[in-house]
Every structure is written in structure tokens, then in C-alpha cells.
Symmetry: C2
Subunit: 215 residues, 2 copies
DNA sequence: AAGGGTTTGTGCTCACAATTACAAACTTCG
DNA sequence: CGAAGTTTGTAATTGTGAGCACAAACCCTT
């Protein structure tokens, strides 16, 4: 059976809400409550989960711990994921410094750049290596995911190289519509695109004058 | 007529491809070529554009400049957009330093934080102001978009405040499912969510051993 | 143990988006 | 100018995902 990608995209949201509930010490949660928290209809949650099995109990709901474990297993979050960063300019450095990856099992284990004055530098306990050595390095110590943070004009080349190295997951921060072969999964992170579609809705109604700072 | 949000989300992609074509000196482009570049079917492009008017010419295609202008107008990209950043920790600083916003007409004009040792600091020619003064500051100089880069536990509060200040577009970097009233547009930027859904596809087929670095 | 109250899992329906397909309009070339 | 070749815009079709609604299963109280 083929599971719709939109469903897969929602599962991480569920895991996050479940983690919160777990921290709060909750044992059980209903699709109703989960839905309210996430802004999703309860039916959608139940349907999404039903693609993978029957995890709930009628009259009671879902066991938080059990469902969390199941989702981790389903998504493959029950292991560590090795990542390589390409491009350690401003953006790349920020990504290296980002503390949100490792708690979720994602580790940046290599950093590459093409600029001579960056190669050899140490950033966050990683030595920046030459992009031209990408194939060599990754053949000895493969990674699961490549993070692309190079200027737009080099991005497709870098992606091609990563693919050639067997990397099958790519997180692309460069503002291009990259092409990858079947079987390689690419996600783009582009704040600007998000803004540019948001303005469509903002432009119509004018910026309101603040009535007062009351309260 | 109500235009599907997915259509709106694709328009910025089109503008970007058209900008490239313009730089390359191209006068005219067909939906065919545009589609190949973007990985979208030509029919989809034509249909998307048809929601807004008839911009092409049979037997010829679209005038690059004209279509670009139209899309800019449609999306509201023919003006400047003022943004306020809340949270100048590691992530916030990276956002402030990001150079991809201003070329597209998005300017961060205010920065806020709640931490006393950050308030008053100057970062990139902006003085960090106290989050508690948010309402005051924005009532005098309103912004169009709020960027939220505070820890998860404070994010909803910050978003509520922004909404109260009349901000109707929010870019949320915090890992929470935020709630906003109707009429307020929220987009989340979350690399981790992207990774967590990608792993679903990566986990099945094993990490291939690199055959060789041939080529 | 029995009944009232919950909540799941899922068949069904509906809505909507993607694709197909084609007439109409334009270009180009002989 | 006419015919062959492009390409658009859209009507019609197909495909797909979201929501509804309900039977079945479970909990809890008395």
C-alpha cells in the first residue's frame, strides 16, 4: 500500500505533540485533544494513523508512550542520522550552530566548502574540508543526509555530487528548483518563498492602525 | 473567485524562474520550458496563471518581463515589506544576518528580546528592544510581518502579542503548532520537521556502500 | 452486571486539484 | 498567401485527500 506523502508530513507533528504530552506526564490522549492542540481534525489524525495499524483503544484513546514509540519506529526516528553540510558561509555557520538537530537524532558529522580560506577552519569541533574531497570522505564515512547551503549558482552541482556519493536525502537551503533522480528525497527550506506567498494575502487588507496599547 | 492556496504557493517559484530567465536575457518563454526548469507540468503552470488573467500568446509563449511584472503585482512584491524579529538568540542573529530577504523587498526593521543582557545591544545596525515594549513600538511604526525566533515555551505568547499589535503575517521558527485567529497568516519554517518526514523514505533502503569515486 | 458515556477505525461522500485533450490563435517558412 | 508547426487557455475527466457518520469496542459508575 502506498501512503500519501501529506500523511507522512503530518506524522512528525504528531510525535512532537506526543512528546509534550509525555513531558506533562500524560498517559493517554484522544484524537480529539491531539487535534485541538495541533489544529487538525480528529478524524484526520485517526485516518492518518490507521494507515499503519490500530494503536488506539475505543472509549479511551491512545497510550502516549506507545503511540510515540510506534511513530518513532514508523518514521525511522529510533536511530541516529548522519548529515554532511556543504557551504559554511554565513548561512552554513548558522546551521552548524543550530541546536535543534541533535536532540532529535540528527548530527552534522562533516562540513565542506570550496573557498580556500575556509577550508581547514575549525567550526564547532568540525574541520571544514574541501568540497572536491567530498566523494573521498563520504566513501569512507557515508552520511544519510546532505545539507546544501551554497550560493544558488553552485547548488545543483553540489547536489549532483552528493547524489553520486549515495546520499539519498537532501535538505536544500539554496534558492533554486533543484533536480534529483528518483529515489532521492529533497526538501527545500526557503523562508523567502513562504514570505512571498504570504504577501498575496497581506496586500489586500491594509496594515491596520493600532487603536491603542490597551491591556 | 477563491484561488487555491497551493496555487498561490507556486507563484513565487514562477517569479524566481522568470527572474533567472530575465537575467539570461530571454524575452519569451513557454509553459513547456518553465515547467521543465521547475519540475512542474506545463498544464499546471498555464492553469495556475489562468486564475489571474491571460498573459500568454498562442504559438509564442509568455513575455518574460511582462509575466514577471504581473506576478509581482499579484503577489504584492512590487513594494517593500516591513518585518519585526522577536528573539535574538543564536537563531535570531542568524536570521538578522541573512542576506536573502532584502533583495526581495523584505526588511527587518525592529528586533526584540526579553533577556536583559540582550536588550540595548546593537546587531546589524539594529538596537535590540525589550519585548515588553513591542506594543508601544509597533503602534508608532507598524510592521507587516513578525518573525518569531524565541524558545518554544514563549512562542505562542509572542505570537498572541504580535497579533494584538495588528501583525497579520507571521513567520514562525519555533517548534510549536501555533494558533492564530482567522485573517492572520502563519507559516512555519522547520528544518527538523522536514528531516523527520524524510527519514521515513530513507529508512527503508539501506545506505549504499559507495562503489567508487570514479569520474 | 448493566447502562450511559467515550472514542476508535473505517466505509462513504464530497470537494477540489491535477491532468488530459483540444479548439483557437499565433508564428514561421516556403 | 497558405500550410505546417507551436503554444495558449479551458472544458472535461480523472485522481486523491479530507470530512462525515456510525458501528463496534471499551471505560466507568452505580
Amino acid at each position: 500500500m502506498e501512503i500519501p506523502p501529506v500523511v507522512i508530513d503530518r506524522l512528525p507533528l504528531y510525535t512532537r505533540a506526543l512528546s509534550s504530552l509525555q513531558t506533562e506526564g500524560r498517559d493517554v490522549v484522544s484524537s480529539q485533544e491531539l487535534g485541538t492542540r495541533l489544529g487538525v481534525t480528529p478524524a484526520q489524525i485517526r485516518k492518518d494513523l490507521s494507515y499503519f495499524g490500530r494503536f488506539g483503544k475505543q472509549g479511551r484513546g491512545y497510550n502516549v508512550q506507545k503511540l510515540l514509540d510506534e511513530l518513532h519506529r514508523i518514521l525511522g526516528l529510533d536511530r541516529q542520522w548522519r548529515m554532511a553540510l556543504v557551504g559554511v558561509g554565513k548561512l552554513g555557520r548558522a546551521i552548524l550552530g543550530y541546536e535543534g538537530f541533535s536532540p532529535q537524532g540528527f548530527r552534522i558529522v562533516e562540513a565542506f566548502d570550496a573557498s580556500p580560506d575556509r577550508i581547514g577552519q575549525r567550526i564547532n569541533s568540525l574541520i571544514v574540508k574541501d568540497t572536491r574531497d567530498l566523494e573521498n570522505v563520504l566513501s569512507k564515512a557515508p552520511v544519510d543526509v546532505g545539507i546544501v547551503a551554497v550560493p544558488a549558482e553552485f547548488a545543483q552541482d553540489v547536489i549532483d555530487t552528493l547524489v553520486k556519493c549515495g546520499v539519498r536525502g537532501i535538505l536544500n537551503y539554496a534558492p533554486i528548483a533543484a533536480h534529483v533522480p528518483d529515489g532521492v528525497h529533497l526538501k527545500r527550506i526557503e523562508p523567502v518563498l513562504a514570505l512571498q506567498s504570504m504577501t498575496y494575502y497581506l496586500k489586500s487588507s491594509p496594515r491596520p492602525t493600532i487603536t491603542a496599547a490597551r491591556g
